[in-house]
Symmetry: C2
Subunit: 455 residues, 2 copies
Amino acid sequence: MINQLKELLSEEQVSINETILEQHSQDESYHDVAKPDVVVFPKTTEEVSRILQYANTHKIPVVPFGRGSSLEGHIIPYDNGITIDFSLMDKIIAIQPEDLLVVVQPGVTRTQLNQALKQHGLFFSVDPGADATLGGMVATNASGTTAVRYGVMRDQVRDLEVVLADGTVIHTGSLAAKSASGYHLNGLFTGSEGTLGCFTELTLRVYGIPEFETAARATFNTVEEAVEAVTSVLQVGIPIARVELVDEESIRQVNAHNETSFAEKPTLFLEFHGNEAGLAQDVAFTTELMQDAGCTEIIFETDTAARNQLWTARHNLAYSYIHSHKGKKMMVTDVCVPISELAHAIHHAREQLTKYQLAGGLLGHVGDGNFHALVMVDMKNTDEVARANALNEAIVEYALSKNGTCTGEHGVGVGKQKYQRKEHGAAYDVMASIKQTLDPNNIMNPGKIIKVDPV
Amino acid sequence: MINQLKELLSEEQVSINETILEQHSQDESYHDVAKPDVVVFPKTTEEVSRILQYANTHKIPVVPFGRGSSLEGHIIPYDNGITIDFSLMDKIIAIQPEDLLVVVQPGVTRTQLNQALKQHGLFFSVDPGADATLGGMVATNASGTTAVRYGVMRDQVRDLEVVLADGTVIHTGSLAAKSASGYHLNGLFTGSEGTLGCFTELTLRVYGIPEFETAARATFNTVEEAVEAVTSVLQVGIPIARVELVDEESIRQVNAHNETSFAEKPTLFLEFHGNEAGLAQDVAFTTELMQDAGCTEIIFETDTAARNQLWTARHNLAYSYIHSHKGKKMMVTDVCVPISELAHAIHHAREQLTKYQLAGGLLGHVGDGNFHALVMVDMKNTDEVARANALNEAIVEYALSKNGTCTGEHGVGVGKQKYQRKEHGAAYDVMASIKQTLDPNNIMNPGKIIKVDPV
């Protein structure tokens, strides 16, 4: 296999170096690791097509790999085989300000793109915690703090060049801003986690940098009050750009790892984008609504440095948990529920943390009803692992009972595979039939999202 | 068949009345008509499931029918069979203001929904010309004047209850505002035009009625200048709610059929939603950008009556063309191109109207790059029909050559079927394989979107 791959690509694009294999055996999750047999580094769509044709003919499992920052074991090759690392396909192909579009290769990261967009007065909106590759972000339908205003990854995808399991190259969309032509393949392939094909080129939507931005921090006595405040803001249609809930426990973590001394209470981090006059009015109205809901303090930060400090603290929260719990691994729950159920769901999650005697923070993108319990687990302590798994399960079951989803933004990977039938019911069979049709040999990231019985 | 259907439903829910068959033989397009063998009027999901099980067993074609306002022959049953009319499934099941969601049956129309939402301070954003049913609007991925701000129909779909070809009932989504779980079936079924299943319940996103609205009418000497103005407004990120281009010819039509005396020049109809202070700043900036692009006059209408007159005139444009050309049928082209290509594309369309000696208006949702040439055709004049078809073809070919789409919002139906392979290339085979997998007997609206070779 190694020799044949070297013939299809070149000597130096194929690696069985132990360190390289190890690097491709894990993501940032707590899931068991597994090494691929070989890692390949294609440079062109044609090379990816050749790899897949070869793998499909020989029924060899293939896992596409961006940066390994996934959180549910998406890129762990449990059936070994070939890992395709897209790090050499990292070019920004075109920036089209008039069309508010960019064309990039899948290995480009979101900060790399934003760096390049800045001089055009544009930005790319989706911001998961990690500096993931855009290919990986499309694969998991990533989102983050700005989804409440700008949408998730799927909302940014205008077209994908995809290499299918048999090596066929397709385009899933066009450059038109809207279309009622054909079936919506952009949506189907976004979030497919490498199970239906490999992305080799992405055409994505970007936005003009807003004229004005304001950030705020609002403190509450209870999580319920904070959620109530968010609900009011959304219902009156204030186009808030970010609204993040950080609970007491997580604020303590923030203060311990940043130069901040925020009040250690349930807190909303807010951001507004717009024109100056409009923001002033939004901010005044929001303040009123926050106070009505029981906000004890709201502090606005208009200067860039203070705003950056606020958001850096929020973005680094997961990493600061990791750094302060050496030797442990991070388990993050990721349910999303209807907003009307959010306060109850967060309350329930806190109860479960207590019940299972786990220390952990609760935080979330509350404008979307998406929240995380963040728990550091000693993977050698089987009892702790069992309790953490039970916690995750209890939180998922609760969300599903409220017509929510087992994953708001991290994706299915292996971690949420077992909930797929329960969440989707008979629709799971439809998904499985699509997988079967597009990847009959089940070579594309097998075991992720859809469990196919071995033939 | 009639007797068996009467047993599955009830006597009065099955009709072979000639007038009823006739009503279900045509939409609002110029396409050839064809009658179903029978029209059924189910009242429940279970009845729809029974009908499809029966039809699938006996391989009888099935066409779902909302109001017949489609524009590409979507609901014309060219293979006869059973038409399922959803007019008895017209209940608004739930309005959930806190979640900004509604649950409706497919036969509810958009004005019916907006009427009910008003008292909650909410509105449903998508506004095609016709007062279509929401089921039909999901089926065609309809949009209209507000897509530039609020998105198209697909962006509003949170969950669909769908009866598949074999009678299985699935849910394509959940109530969560975002999800990274499973494949994106919401997106796949939205825009599937009845070729993959029948919708029996829709969960849709709604919005808070904006605090403040302003409308404007901006006049230009050329279409190019008008498009340039729109491009600038979008690029600086002004969140315009509507921006419609109406050309000279169409303004003449507007003035002839409304109590208006608008300057007969290329005109933009604009609308802004937001808070009062923010809008004032948006309006001032927009005025500046419009004037920079060559706008000769811009008039703002803040009072509701004047604003309504403006938008009523725009919305009734297609119908006023129809009423003033008795005996003719309307052919509307519907391409969408990248914004950077829009001015050229509209210019090209005007040239084609001249070349083919056809009178027609050009109008469009220019914020999305979507525009229509509206031509009244005497279907008995074979030469005129041929010229109109040639015009449509030339406009589509031009859009495809610019990486646009053959249909921005009207859908494929039969009218755009022939362009599907050209537009989607190898992705068309992926679409066909999905159709084949989910509807192996090809009973669901056969001949629309995907052409399946007879077995």
